[in-house]
Symmetry: C2
Amino acid sequence: MNETPAGRPTLETVARAAGASRATVSRVVNGSTTVRADIAESIRRAIAELGYVPNPAARSLVTQRTDSIALILPESATRVFSDDAFFPGVIRGVGEALEKADKQLVLLLASTQASHDRILRYVHGRTVDGVVLASMHGADTLPEELRAAGVPVVTSGRPLGEATVPFIDVEHASGVEAAMKHLVGLGRRRIATIAGPQDMVAGRERLAGYLTGLRAVPGAVPLVEEGDFMRQSGTDAMERLLQRDPGIDAVFAASDLMADGALRTLRRLGRRVPDDVAVIGFDDVEAARFTDPPLTTVHQPIHEIGTRLAEQILRLVAGEEVEASVVLPTRLVIRESA
Amino acid sequence: MNETPAGRPTLETVARAAGASRATVSRVVNGSTTVRADIAESIRRAIAELGYVPNPAARSLVTQRTDSIALILPESATRVFSDDAFFPGVIRGVGEALEKADKQLVLLLASTQASHDRILRYVHGRTVDGVVLASMHGADTLPEELRAAGVPVVTSGRPLGEATVPFIDVEHASGVEAAMKHLVGLGRRRIATIAGPQDMVAGRERLAGYLTGLRAVPGAVPLVEEGDFMRQSGTDAMERLLQRDPGIDAVFAASDLMADGALRTLRRLGRRVPDDVAVIGFDDVEAARFTDPPLTTVHQPIHEIGTRLAEQILRLVAGEEVEASVVLPTRLVIRESA
DNA sequence: TGCCACCGAGAGAGCGCTCTCACGAGTCGC
DNA sequence: GCGACTCGTGAGAGCGCTCTCTCGGTGGCA
C-alpha cells in the first residue's frame, strides 16, 4: 500500500485511480475516439480530481514536437523596443494567431553575438518547432543557418540578398510612390527624404520609392539624409536637410517616428506644416494621429504581418508548402501634414 | 556495423565516437571537473564534429528544470501593445537579465478567459521554472492561482488587495505629489487630473497622489476624469474636463500617452501650453521629449523594473528568499509643458 | 610488499509519455 | 456453429538524458 502520490500526478497515477491502463488514459488525454464512453468518463473524472496535467517534456521527448514557436528579434535590443510600434504590433499579431492554434510563443531577443550563438543552440536543441525571424539587418546569416539546421523558418521583411526562406513583406516602394505622387500633386517640387538604414531592405526600398517618385518632377535632384527609424534621428536629419537646402517644401520620412522627429525640428525653426513644408511618414502607428499636425503617412498592416507570419510558420511546421513570399499592400492615409 | 546515426546525434552517439560511456560524456557536457583531461578533450572533439546539442526535453524530464521563465501580460491584448512604451521596456529589461542568466523568456499573452486557462495548464505542466506577471487588472486571481500551483511568481506592480506574492513597484504617489507641488509652485490653482483605470493599482495610486497634492491648494476641489492610459482617452478626457471647468490652469495625466492626447485637445481648443494650461504626464517614455511642447513628466525606471523582476524570479527559482516588495523611486523631469 | 583510502569511469535505472503490436471479446456470414 | 473480422484495451518498448551506485585502478603508508 505504498500509495503516496506525493508529487504531481502522472499518467500512471490517473490510470490506477480510474482502473485503466496508461495507454487508455493517454488516449483520452489526446482525444482519441476509440475509447468506450463510460471508461473515458471515469478517466476524465480522475483527471479532474487529481488535477492531472501532462508533462510536456516527456511528451516532447517522444513526439519530437514542442508546440512552441520562437519569435526572434535580431535587432539591436536598444532600438527594437523603446516606443516604436512596429515590433509590439507584430508580436501581438503573431501571439494571437499562435494562441488560436494552441501553440506557444517563445521570444528570443538577439542583440549580441553571444545571443546569436545561444539562439542557434536553442534552435538546434529543438526546443521550438519553428522560427519566425523579424527584421534582420544587413546580410544576416541567421536565416540561412537556421534553414541549414533543418528548422522551418519564415522571416518578416525580404532579406537583403537572395531570399532562401519564405518571407512576408509589404509593398514599400509603391506605397512611397503614392506618397510622392500626392506631394507632387500638391505642387511640391523640392522634396527631400529622411531615409531608413540602408542595411535594411525596408530602408532601401523606401528610398527607392522616393527616387522613383521624384522622377515625376522635372529637373529635381534627390535630397537624402539617413536616419535609424527612431525619433531622434528624424530630428537630426531634418536639421541637416534644411541646412543643405532651406527651400525644401516637402519631406518624406521612412518612418512615422522619424517624421515626428522632423516635425519637431520644423516647428523649432519656425516652418509651418504643411504650409511651408509638407511631411509624410511611413507605418501609420497610433501616434501618427496625434502629432501636430496629424501625420499623413503610408499605412502598413502591422497586425496582419504578424498573423500572416504565424500562419505561414504553422503551415511549414505542419509539413505543408507555402508561397516563397507574401507581399501585403500599403496605402496612403491622408491627414493634415501633407 | 549498423552505424547509421541518421538523425541528430545523441549522448550515445558521442559516447561511441569518443570511446567513452554516456555518463562520462554527460559529465563533460555539464562541466564536471572529475573527468581526465585527455578523455574530456576527445569527447569535446567528438561533440564538435558531430554537432551534438543536448535535447532539452530529455534533460528537463529528469532534472525537473526547464531553464525558462514565463512573462505573462494579462492586460487586454489590444491595449498592451499599440505604441505604449511601458511593456516593451519591461520585456526588454526582463529579457536582457534572463539572457545573462542563460534562461529563456517565454511570452504568454493573456487576453481572454481561454488564455487564462491555457496559462494555468502551461504553468501546471511545469514548462517554465517561474513566472513574471505584469500589470494585472482588478483583483486578478492569477497570482494566487499560480502561487497555489507551487510555482515561483513575482509581479510587476502591487496587486490590488492583499499581496500574496513578491512584487516590484514604483513610488507612484510621491512622484505625483512632486508633480503637484511643482504645479502649485508655478501658481496653478485649478488643477485637474486625467486618472488611469481605477481597477489598477497604478491608476489608483496616481490618483491618490493627485488628491494628496491638491490639499496644498486651499479650497481646491478635485477635478477628475478617467482614461485608460492610452492617447485617445487622454484626448477625450481633456475635452470633458474643459467642459466641466473651462478655467482649468493645469492638468496632471496619469500617463504620458494620455498627456499627449490631452495636449492635442488643448491645441485644438486654442489653449496655449504651458501659458494657459500646464501639463504633466507620468512614465517618461521617449515620445515625451517630442511632444509639443516637450512634456514635463514623472520618470519611472521602466528598464530597471524589468531587470529587477528578472533578478527576483531568478532568486526565487534558485530557492532563495526575496523581499516581499521592492519599490523603486520616481522623479520629476521638468521640460516645457509645466 | 600488502592493505586501505580515494578517485575516476561505467552500468543501469528511471524521468513521464506515446505508440506499436498483440490479444480478447464481440459480431457477422456462410 | 465455426472461422474471419472488427473494435477496444493493455503490455511493453523506448524517446535522450541525469544520477546513483558500484567497481577497478592507483597511490600512500606501515
